[in-house]
Amino acid sequence: MSTAASQAPRGARGARAPRPSRRSARDSSSSWRLSDRLGLAFAWFLGLLFLTLTAGIVLYMMVQGLRYITPELMFTSPAAGFSESETGGFLDPLLGTIIVAAMALGIAFPIGLGVAVWLSEYARPAWLARVAESTVEMLAGSPSIVFALFGVLLFEQGGMGFLSRTNDGVVLGRSFFAASAMLSLIALPLIVANVREGLQAIPGHVREASYAVGKTKIATTRRVLLPAARPSVVTGAMLGLGRIIGDTAIIVLLLGATLRFAPAGDIPLLGALKGTGSTLTTFVYANAPTGEANQPTKAFAAGFVLLSMVLLLNFAVDVAVRRGRKWK
């Protein structure tokens, strides 16, 4: 019987071989051992539980956010007032989020790219590469409040006065510059790890093919390896951006978390960047039922915007990864 089945398809092309139907493959799980079936059921249960929880949170936030969000909220600045109608919206925190995201990524991306290329392509001297590697891992594991605290001490130094508000020689140490500098540290390990992984996934013979036509390492990295690793580069940048957008501790300690921009000095853009401000996370924090402002509807609306930004980033990562092509 088994011989007949296996010989049939080769004999005549037109003759259909009796193929195992889809059902028989599925039925086979009922012939599994009990322990495997229990394992399968358990995995299914955990998977569904996780999915329900996540979907529940996201959907709840979305529904609540959509209920309370209005265009005015996004286009008016926060204001002092006694009722919700007087306290304005969250234009400043929204812009604040965009500013710190751009600045922190602007710092973290080139550094992360450089470190990843060094670790993956050069890794010399070996001992220094090992040290750098564990440093990056340590950064990845550190809570952001630690960076925030360190940042406060660092940017209060007299020499750092040019980066924040200064009164009679006393440096405030809180500004968009200070916050972005520290926020870049929490994005850095994600960028390094992803770019490095992407570079190391490229087969060695692709590098050698470039060296073998007389290209230098740096030319190979720029023209062949980084373009090939682009999905990973984008993924690292987007994940880093997600961390930056979502961080609260550094904003509270280093950006001052003043709901409106409080520029330092008269120079238009530089003044704002040297001054304090807030982001959506601290806006939500201040307006949550436990916060000082306690306006949950506005917190939900701002949370909705924040969540939408992060979901959009994740979507971008998916697209970037799916577009990547690979060698055999």
Binding site: A209, A212, G214, R223, R325
Partner: protein, 294 residues
């Protein structure tokens, strides 16, 4: 019917006359088979000279005092079992072995009389280019794959329009122009495996090298693509010196003018393809080419 017993594997018939040739004393069956190449060129020109070359990875000797000439107008095939050092020998010809940290070399290789150790590696590698086992076009368009080689390091200059002629020339020499001439902007990784490998050859030719190294260029390809590339290699031998590493003895017989048989790092036998395949001097060569080991 349960699927518990896998269907039997069908084997090629391996009886009678076919198996008889595989015994160690006979001449291999392919020695009378048709060849791709015509007669060897009488104008063979010495390009490279390997002199007493030894290469070791750490304490392990991969190539053991090998000497041989590489001539333009001839195809040199390096054959031998896996791990015999033939790829290492090939890679040492354009100093790619140096990229392996543990590698150390002794001996001398000259290119047109100059010791290659004294040449700048990137300059050397433009004169001695290499094609790899796996087709590995760069993740860019077909045009840019070739143009990348023509441009200075990471530069984007000269611009496209100045390179069109040279790119076309390289693609034509690799026999790929007719297939991709209209779609130069398509990503190279969308080409078929055989086309990708010919693009890699075009890329290696674009640098206008004196020596072309091929490391099992057909082992990832189907027979049709293999035939196209073999024809190409035979055509190219007039313009560049060609060294090919292959596991495929029939292929070596079809295209090579000279054959070097390596075993455990040593060059056991070197000679014209006719002699090495038809009348090997060494017992190990005889055994290997008739399928005795390896």
């Amino acid at each position: 019917m349960s699927l518990s017993s896998p269907p039997p594997v069908r084997r090629l018939p391996l009886t009678g006359a076919d198996t008889a040739v595989l015994t160690s004393e006979e001449t291999p069956s392919f020695v009378s088979a048709p060849r791709r190449r015509g007669e060897s060129s009488s104008l063979a020109l010495d390009r490279m000279q390997v002199e007493e070359l030894s290469i070791a990875y750490g304490p392990k000797l991969a190539v053991d005092t090998v000497s041989l000439p590489i001539r333009q107008g001839e195809v040199l095939a390096l054959i031998g079992p896996s791990g015999c050092g033939k790829t290492t020998l090939l890679r040492s010809l354009n100093r790619l072995t140096e990229l392996t940290k543990t590698a150390s070399a002794k001996g001398r290789i000259t290119l047109d009389g100059e010791d290659i150790a004294t040449l700048e590696p990137t300059a050397l590698r433009r004169r001695v280019t290499m094609v790899f086992q796996q087709p590995n076009p760069f993740p860019m368009s077909v045009f840019d794959n070739v143009a990348y080689v023509l441009r200075e390091q990471a530069s984007r200059r000269p611009k496209r329009k100045f390179l069109r002629g040279a790119v076309r020339d390289a693609l034509e020499r690799a026999g790929l122009w007719d297939e991709v001439g209209d779609t130069l902007d398509h990503p190279a990784l969308r080409l078929s495996g055989g086309q990708q490998q010919r693009l890699c050859i075009a890329r290696a030719l674009a640098a206008d090298p004196e020596v072309l190294l091929l490391d099992e260029p057909c082992s990832a390809l189907d027979p049709q693509s293999t035939k196209v590339i073999e024809d190409l290699i035979v055509q190219l031998r007039e313009q560049v010196a060609v060294v090919i590493v292959t596991h495929n003895l029939q292929q070596a017989y079809r295209i090579a003018d000279y054959v070097g048989f390596m075993y455990l790092g040593e060059l056991v036998e070197y000679g014209s393809a006719d002699r090495v395949f038809g009348n090997p001097r060494e017992a190990r060569t005889k055994e290997y080419i008739s399928g005795g080991f390896g």
